[in-house]
Subunit: 325 residues, 2 copies
């Protein structure tokens, strides 16, 4: 993995991926005790950064391979990204999703033209289901994070952060990234290391699913005890990737772990102060900036809001519990 | 009023006003039956387009006049825009607000450093209160819409729409603008007339407060029967302005009138499809695109979301009544 691959992805994504703005609010600065710059990937096509990596990976396939279609495993955001990318290339997409994935994510994936195959997390083997479909139809697997072209696509968000921070005169800051398997985190870290090395990435995870934080601490890949059940569905993964982990080890600062309550509080702040809809997993980095200020260094912090695909009752619950006014 | 004044405002606003993106969603296109491009001014500083005009007007004042401070009448969005602009110039701002304005708007205006004076709409004369304060302290009145520098500032949003539409190859479209007194509408209309004359502005208003629509139809300034009480507080004004009306007469197509229910339905769509928080008055143009498609011409429509400063219970009510999932 190197910066050339990210720049090549950026070239392929031009005119397709949305360049999201860098937002701010004096009210958030006040809570955080420092300047907070927000990169809202909830405004990306399909409502999350995942479209970047999906389009990068699908566009990198040889044309004859791509023509047979693609397949992906996903609880929802990667699913929508792959579905849209495949639709844009006019090829088939099969998405294998857990039956307890958020309703909006399942519906949207279908609406983007993908064939959705639901499986029961507790009784069925998704890999077996996927292997059978792939073999029968010649589909190419688009992995959610541990895949160089996917990491390169997510890294294009880091190129934008480097540019936008520079335009604001920010050359030293910590960059908080919502972290599941580490594709977004490692992609942004690679881009910033090459383009703006004073910006250092910090992975942020939800309590109970802090595999990356523990792995960075111990120096080897640690697994989560549970692999489902948390509020932050978008970033719950069993363990860091074999490709992403060494990149994070080399380039990232220590992880930060937030509670589900803090994620919901950050959702309420994003509503009130940024006019943005963040999903729980997409709000953990903002939660770290606002409620873990003592774990962060510097007078400016950059945070990603990685996605906004949240079911209505979950969003209303966060506002009712933690909103003001 | 001419394009030079808008361009001069744009120069003064560079580095202060946020260039909001142009968003879209295939789900909205499907409801509308045509391509829908969304200009989200809810992402502007202070959560609405009003900061553009306020900063333009405050920055145009001679320095010695500005130093005495400014005063404004507003139910909330203009208030916040003027408060922030004054704070940035280090001068005093006095804002006269109705006591029934949305709580968030009153709180935010205070938090931005302004002195807020509340009055009772039914028993007190806000003009008398304002005149007394202005005279005593030498404050300059920043009018909410019927003022050339304010119109010029709002027009900078039109310059961005012209640029962004052009980049997408869109040169013919109707541009739906959430319309109160007509400052935003006439400013955008002037900018588009000069920069992209194939983009034609259509004012959009809430039922019961359709003074601009009726005035455009009759050819003379018509008043609303009521001047308060609607859901769309941000765009409820007694009548079109003496400066804004002739501009709208010359450049705009017929007005479109939407119901409060349609505005709430559009808020629910902005939540689900754009991950944006729109206030009721800020959602009327999107409502027109989605639910009044037969009143619109062409295969592409541009809509403004003019603001996102909505109290939590009002937002939750819209999602509960009209959200899906």
């Amino acid at each position: 993995m190197d910066i050339e691959r990210i720049e090549a992805a950026a070239t392929r994504l031009t005119g397709h991926v949305r360049r999201t703005p860098l937002l701010s609010s004096p009210f958030l600065d006040e809570i955080a005790g420092r300047r907070v710059l927000v990169k809202p990937e909830c405004l990306q096509h399909t409502g999350s950064f995942k479209y970047r990596g999906a389009r990068a990976a699908v566009s990198a396939l040889p044309e004859d391979v791509r023509a047979n279609g693609v397949i992906a495993f996903s609880s929802g955001n990667h699913a929508q990204g792959v579905a849209l990318a495949a639709q844009q290339f006019g090829v088939a997409a099969v998405i294998i999703m857990p039956s307890d994935a958020p309703r909006m994510k399942i519906d949207n994936t279908r609406a983007l033209g993908a064939e959705v195959v639901l499986y029961d997390r507790s009784t069925e083997d998704r890999d077996a289901i996927g292997a059978e479909l792939s073999n029968a139809r010649g589909l190419t697997l688009i992995k959610p994070f541990d895949e160089p072209e996917v990491i390169a696509g997510q890294g294009t968000c880091g190129l934008e952060i480097a540019d936008q921070a520079k335009a604001l005169g920010v050359t030293e800051a910590e960059v908080l990234v919502c972290c599941g398997g580490g594709g977004f985190t490692s992609g942004i870290a690679l881009a910033l290391d090459a383009k703006s090395p004073g910006l250092r990435v910090r992975p942020v995870e939800p309590e109970g699913f802090d595999d990356v934080t523990r792995s960075l601490k111990s120096g080897r890949i640690e697994r989560n005890a549970a692999t489902s059940g948390g509020l932050c569905d978008a970033i719950i993964t069993p363990q860091p990737g074999a490709i992403t982990f060494p990149i994070m080890q080399r380039l990232c600062g220590p992880g930060i772990v937030v509670t589900d309550d803090e994620a919901q509080m950050a959702m309420a702040q994003a509503f009130a102060r940024l006019k943005l809809v963040a999903e729980p997993g997409g709000a953990v980095a903002l939660a770290a900036a606002l409620y873990h200020a003592d774990e962060i260094e510097g007078d400016t912090v950059v945070v990603t809001i990685s996605g906004g695909n949240v079911d209505r009752p979950v969003f209303i619950a966060a506002l009712e519990r933690f909103g003001e006014g």
